[in-house]
């Protein structure tokens, strides 16, 4: 596999562009091919079977483009479809999800109480709690892990309300319901924002939780992990940018184009790949 080949990245929609942005920042010589399944977003409430079948079809599409690695930039798909995508990709193409690197990183930090938030699918799968407890046990550390579904946060962020006057009360309401509110007996000292939309609301989370609480930078950790794995497999590209990035979606509307710019941090062109038409 040539190091000039693109890194394939996919998500249920546009939120995964926060991960693509972090990878482009950490690995500026790499060419990216991003696919957002805007015809089916959000994955967060769907059945595992459906998320798995869509993810495998998208991975085929990225492999057809000659991608040298695949990043599953969607927590719901990482939770339910990572094994199926690895089976498809085989040995030659590394497949990275957005959960394992974050779990490894957080397990090494010595937090006493860790909270995880995400969609109903991600939290319902229990994958963060299970893998994080395993990782803590393996490293001989103590640490309480609790998970709470926060399904309103992604719609709020899509509406651009991450700094709206109502964002903080919504966050506080979820923290209260989870028993994690600052100064309560269940107060956490680290929060994992387990959804690709949430990085846009990091400021609000830090505002509400206070400076003592570590709000984990998922995309940054994933991007570092992509660098490490590509280097280990001799797939890292150096020198000038290997070629233009490609961003594509399965349904194209002006709304998705506007959102893409917000999530990636600057303007980009979306191509329409009618994978299901």
């Amino acid at each position: 596999m040539a190091s000039e080949a693109p890194i394939g990245i996919f998500d249920s929609g546009i939120g995964g562009l926060t991960v693509a942005h972090a990878i482009a920042r950490v690995l500026p010589a790499e060419r990216l091919s991003y696919f957002g399944d805007t015809a089916h977003m959000p994955y967060g409430d769907r059945s595992p079977e459906l998320v798995r079948s869509w993810s495998v079809r998208i991975a085929e599409h990225l492999l057809d483009q000659g991608c040298k690695a695949i990043v599953i930039a969607c927590n719901s798909a990482s939770a339910t479809a990572a094994a199926a995508v690895r089976d498809l990709a085989g040995e030659a193409v590394p497949v990275l999800d957005v959960i394992s690197p974050v779990v490894r990183a957080v397990a090494g930090q010595g937090h006493a109480r860790i909270g995880v938030i995400g969609t109903r699918a991600t939290i319902g799968s229990g994958i963060y709690g299970r893998t994080l407890r395993d990782a803590l046990r393996e490293s001989g550390r103590d640490g309480v892990v609790e998970e709470w579904a926060t399904p309103l946060l992604a719609p709020l962020i899509e509406e651009g309300w991450q700094d709206h006057a109502l964002m903080d009360p919504v966050l506080l309401s979820y923290l209260d319901a989870a028993g994690w509110a600052p100064d309560s007996s269940g107060a956490i000292d680290a929060l994992i924002p387990g959804c690709t939309h949430y990085p846009l609301a990091m400021a609000a989370m830090r505002r509400v939780l206070g400076e003592q609480v570590d709000v984990v930078d998922g995309p940054g950790i994933v991007a570092e992990s992509v660098r490490t794995q590509l280097a280990e497999e001799g797939l890292l590209h150096s020198g000038p940018l290997a070629g233009d990035h490609r961003f594509s979606v399965s349904d194209l509307t002006p709304g998705f184009e506007r959102s893409a710019t917000r999530f990636f941090g600057h303007g980009l062109d979306l191509a329409y790949d009618p994978l299901w038409a």
Copy 2:
């Protein structure tokens, strides 16, 4: 077409069960066949082309079951796919949407300022404003019509927050942004809740808008319109219930089953019809 045949009803998901519930109340002898496209919900942000192609496929599915009429119980699909579904159904099977009957009813009520809320797709289509202004002009009435997209309301209602402490501030925030707040110069005297989820938040809307404002009961108006049209075409069933209702979805999860009970008002069994598998 036999009057014993079921009435087909479809929606992007489970919200259309508010319409099915109203039809079952007004026409207790009629058998219903409901299809919720939970694999693709919500339609509110998708392109018109995609909503149209999904709607036509679902209408075929209902016609295959021998339905005597089709009710498009989704505002986004009513706005973009009603003509295509009518073409498919032909003369023999009446197709009702959830927008036209509401527009006709409201245009006859003499309101001075009418506000319409809904998803981005419904409001972006401008269909309520356009058809309501036409209906007012035809009846020789004055009346200002304004539309505002309120994409957070459906997720809030799906989360069960319609009576949460944060529901009223979110509604007020939208009313302020639209310029319709009570006691403001733009205050409305009627509100059309143009999304099938919104009937669950009627109490909140009345609380925030006050008693002077008419919050329109869309499902009730649609159900009366179904009765009138079936009677005109000699398709109305009388006597005992024509048979068991059927409720089906294109993706089945415990979450969809719980929501279905909330939206229909009492327990029901969901069948899985894998229309896209």
